[in-house]
């Protein structure tokens, strides 16, 4: 039996080793390979928390192994045996104290990062706004400044903070582009803000992270970060070449279905606001504006 257990332990280690090695290509671990300031701050916090946890866990597993090996119930075990020893204030203070310190350190950094992420990642560049609507089962992006709309892909200028304003015209989903930063829910009737930014030109994987039914697994999208000039050129191109998204067109688009990548040269004025309001948005005091400067005053009046 013992021999068998040894073999089992070894094969377990071998298995884990293979699993780790097979994934050594860092580029596959997109969460650990951030390409923007938001993702980087989150990455730093991840690393900090791993280190702090390791400070506790590794010694504890060490002590545990030592104790189990040393105090086995064998007839010739010479280690001390004190069956009545059950209290030591000094030790208790140590192991209440160390976790408290660790939590305090992690708590401070958590609070700092949380506050930071509510602000634009860089101050000296004017941000742009992209409105995001999750539908069954596709993503619609509307650009209030350019008056264009896309489905299942978004282009953004690199090096520019992007405020994504999120809502849903379907069950709650979650908007996640791991390499740019963490996710935020898209919810019917709410408009939520999420700051992200790509430092470099590139294509980034995005997906819906909150389950929304039958077609959920197909809700991936592409975020393409390009140079500012190219972004402007692309927007012009879309305005020129792509079809118009009409009210009827949106109604059809919002029905449950899967879609490929689509572009629209324009969309009905106030589409995003209408989506938010018809799903109950009129009842809430919105934390974030809805991104469309032309209708801002309109919104304020409704409140």
């Amino acid at each position: 039996m013992n021999k068998w257990i040894q073999t089992a332990k070894l094969s377990l280690l071998a298995f884990l080793g293979t699993a780790l090695l097979s994934g050594c290509d860092r580029s596959k671990f997109i969460v650990l390979d951030p390409r923007g300031p938001v993702g980087k701050q989150e990455y730093n916090l991840i690393i900090l928390s791993v280190i702090l946890c390791a400070i506790i866990i590794i010694p504890v597993i060490g002590i545990f192994t030592y104790i189990v090996l040393k105090y086995r119930d064998k007839p010739n075990n010479k280690a001390p045996y004190q069956p009545e020893w059950d209290d030591n204030k000094f030790l208790e203070i140590i192991w209440w104290g160390i976790p408290i310190i660790i939590v305090a350190i992690l708590g401070v950094f958590t609070a700092k990062t949380t506050m930071n992420l509510t602000k634009p990642p860089v101050k000296d560049v004017d941000p742009i706004v992209v409105q995001v609507t999750s539908l069954d089962w596709k993503w619609m992006f509307t650009y209030p400044d350019k008056k264009i709309a896309t489905v299942n892909y978004a282009e953004i200028p690199a090096g520019v903070p992007v405020q994504f304003i999120l809502t849903s015209d379907a069950p709650m989903n979650s908007f996640w582009v791991p390499q740019l930063g963490g996710q935020e829910y898209t919810m019917p009737g709410m408009s939520m803000g999420l700051w992200l930014q790509a430092d470099k030109v590139g294509e980034y994987f995005g997906s819906g992270a909150n389950f929304t039914g039958k077609g959920f697994a197909h809700m991936q999208f592409r975020v393409k970060a390009v140079k500012q000039e190219e972004f402007n050129k692309w927007a012009k191109q879309v305005q020129k070449d792509s079809p118009v998204l009409t009210k009827a067109g949106y109604k059809k688009l919002s029905k449950p279905s899967l879609e490929k990548e689509l572009s629209f040269s324009s969309y009905p004025i106030g589409l995003f606001e209408d989506i938010v309001n018809k799903n109950g948005g009129i009842y809430y005091d919105h934390m974030n504006h809805m991104g469309d400067h032309t209708t801002m005053s309109d919104m304020n009046m409704k409140k």
Binding site: A8, G23, V60, Y71, R72, V103, P171, M187, T212, K214
Partner: protein, 661 residues
């Protein structure tokens, strides 16, 4: 509602299930009839109010549900083993992960926990039954028939498919029409009422039913953990009931609590369900901590280290657990301040948990460690739960959580704490108290095979899932690489994970085999004290007589039985003259079962929106309540002669030096 699809059709696996359900039911009916066991089943089990038998029924049902939930898990892993798989269709997969989660938490973990409550607490505190034996039977039957209601959904009407916590508005009529979602509501609503009653029952049992000489500060830590867990149940199960009732009003009566239109607010659902859901995970893990406290002390032959600190940390966990629910949706945009408060509260809960680990380690320190089956599971628990706890602290850092939320990192985390903490804990408890309840020791060799396949399977299954989370794989995807052409490199790790799931399945089969084998061939425990135990349950014969303690034990301090044994060995134990008195016991009753059947009928009726049936069921519930109110013959006394007869038979059969009580 469209009821034209009463029976689920179209899937060969479902037909297979139909056939096996019919065959198994027939086999059971034929067996009971042929061996004339119907009366036995009714008298000994269905109408019983004995906590030990109710505990055994909980244990059997939870193992059955572990099987069902495990099959769900294996089916999911088969589907995900390779990309673009067509083994399960999207909706079928969605149903399976929904029932997997619901069953594992509510119909596996909860009843397994209640099994341990029932089998152990009264014995450990020197009581003859729980405070409300009748209510205890009601709780069990509500759980059991609630679980059956959810379980029939996969052959009748269709299973729920909106996730185990069924986030609104997805779970509303607009997106989830049909009976599936109603099955979910009524199945867990009915069993949830039972859970609340069990919570009440054990709070009162522990506070009022201890043997008069046992002070709270001498009570074994498992009973303390049950108290902490039961208090948490009292706090949160009412929220659960109310939340489900609100969803029922939305779905059945056209209400707008959580809808997208009419002023409904889906965020309120998310808050309410997690106000129950988060404390719920502490409810299930606290008793596991209690189990480990008993096991570590017994198998280190040493007093538990830092008893006061252990009790304090459990109470702290059960209180702080009320203030962490928002960490399940940091990404819902509650605002930075709210997120910070809940992030820090979540980290704080790690402190008492960590302290418990230290105390267990120092219980072993300068002890004498015997590596038995329960101890093996404890030793697997320590590293597993440490890592799971660490990933929990990582998740608690709100901004980092934006990157883990709903990804496989989260899946790996909660499986690690729920399997590594709760399942390992309950299995350890089962191995530990099995000889007490059944008088049989579980076979060591098969147990080791089960243990190692479980362990290897666990790590092979879940470690790759942490990595998959970092690779951006989100939960609840029925397939990957299929539409948008992204190949994220998820395939190899998914395949490894599936292998692990199979290994855990094999581990479970070993355990079933182990139990069956041991019942037939296992070593019988005739001493009543199979492990050289420390607490009162080991001072009585195994299995205990119906009244547990012929004479209520006298407790002078912690680990009462351990010190009594020492005195007995030294010969200084003052054996008092045995003078039995008649023992007051509750009568069996069929009403709990009938009441639960009426609840089942009501639930089934409302599920299909057959109002006549739902209302008829509820009327039935009231009739049973009414009947109980006029039942005067509810208790009896066991005569002194009968006690003497039973005790003599048990003691003669037992060990010679047994003189206590």
């Amino acid at each position: 509602m469209d009821n034209s699809h009463f029976f689920v059709t179209g899937d060969p696996m479902i037909y297979g299930a139909d056939v096996s359900i019919i065959l198994v039911s027939l086999a059971i009916i034929i067996y009971l009839t042929y061996f004339k066991k119907w009366g036995w089943l009714w008298r000994e089990w269905i109408t019983t109010v004995d906590h030990k038998k109710i505990g055994i029924m909980y244990l059997l049902s939870s193992l059955l549900m572990l099987f069902r939930g495990g099959v769900d898990a294996v089916l999911m892993r088969i589907q995900l083993a390779v990309p673009n798989s067509h083994f399960l269709a999207s909706e079928h997969y969605n149903e399976i992960f929904t029932t997997h989660g619901t069953i594992m938490i509510l119909f596996m973990a909860m009843p397994f926990m209640f099994a341990l409550f029932n089998m152990v607490v009264p014995l450990q505190i020197g009581a003859r039954d729980v405070a409300y034996p009748f209510l205890n039977a009601v709780s069990f039957w509500l759980f059991f028939l609630g679980a059956m209601l959810l379980n029939i959904s996969f052959v009748i009407g269709g299973s729920p498919n909106a996730g185990w916590l069924s986030y609104a508005p997805l779970s509303e009529n607009d997106f989830s029409p049909g009976p599936g979602q109603n099955f979910w509501i009524w199945g867990i609503q009915i069993s949830g009422i039972g859970s609340l009653m069990t919570g009440i029952n054990f709070v009162v049992t522990i506070l009022k039913m201890r043997t008069p000489t046992m002070r709270l500060r001498d009570m074994p830590l498992f009973s303390w953990s049950v108290l902490a867990s039961s208090i948490a149940i009292l706090g949160v199960f009412p929220i659960f009931t109310a939340t489900l009732a609100m969803l029922t009003i939305d779905r059945l009566l056209g209400g707008h609590f959580f809808t997208m239109t009419g002023g409904g607010n889906p965020m309120m659902w998310v808050n309410l369900i997690w106000m129950w859901g988060h404390p719920e995970v502490y409810i299930v893990v606290l008793p596991a901590f209690g189990v480990f406290s008993e096991i570590v002390a017994t198998f280190s032959k040493k007093r538990i280290f830092g008893y006061a600190s252990m009790v304090f940390s459990m109470i702290a966990i059960s209180i702080v657990s009320y203030y962490t629910w928002v960490h399940h949706f940091f990404t819902m945009g509650a605002g930075a301040n709210v997120n910070i408060v809940f992030a820090i509260c979540t980290m704080i809960i790690a402190i008492p948990t960590g302290v418990k680990v230290f105390n267990w380690l120092f219980t072993m320190y300068r002890g004498r460690i015997r590596i038995t089956q329960p101890m093996l599971w404890f030793m697997a628990f320590v590293p597993c739960f440490l890592v799971g706890g660490a990933t929990g602290v990582m998740l608690a850092a709100a901004p980092a959580d934006y990157q883990y939320h709903n990804s496989y990192f989260l899946i790996a985390h909660f499986h690690q704490v729920l399997i590594g903490g709760v399942v390992f804990g309950y299995l350890a408890g089962m191995y530990y108290w099995f000889p007490k309840i059944f008088g049989i020791k579980l076979n060591e060799r098969l147990g080791k095979w089960a243990f190692w396949t479980w362990q290897i399977g666990f790590y092979v299954c879940f470690m790759p899932q942490y990595a998959l989370g970092f690779m951006g794989m989100t939960r609840r995807m029925y397939t990957y690489n299929s539409t948008m052409g992204w190949d994220m490199g998820w395939a190899p790790l998914n395949m490894i994970s599936t292998v692990g799931a199979f290994l855990m399945g094999i581990g479970f089969i070993f355990q079933v085999w182990q139990i069956l084998y041991s019942i037939k061939h296992g070593e019988r425990d005739v001493t009543g004290d199979a492990w050289d135990g420390r607490t009162l349950e080991w001072s009585i014969p195994s299995p205990p007589p119906v009244y547990n303690f012929a004479i209520l034990p006298v407790v002078k301090g912690r680990d009462a039985w351990w010190y009594q044994k020492q005195e007995m060995q030294k010969g200084s134990y003052q054996k008092e003259a045995v003078k039995y008195e008649p023992i007051h016991m509750p009568n069996n009753s069929g009403i709990p079962f009938l009441m639960a059947v009426c609840f089942f009928i009501a639930g089934f009726g409302f599920t299909f929106e057959w109002w006549w049936m739902g209302i008829a069921g509820l009327i039935g519930v009231f009739i049973t309540l009414f009947a109980r109110s006029f039942q005067y013959n509810t208790d009896h006394f066991i005569s002194v002669e009968e006690i003497e007869r039973t005790e003599n038979a048990l003691r003669n059969h037992g060990s010679i030096h047994r003189t206590a009580n």
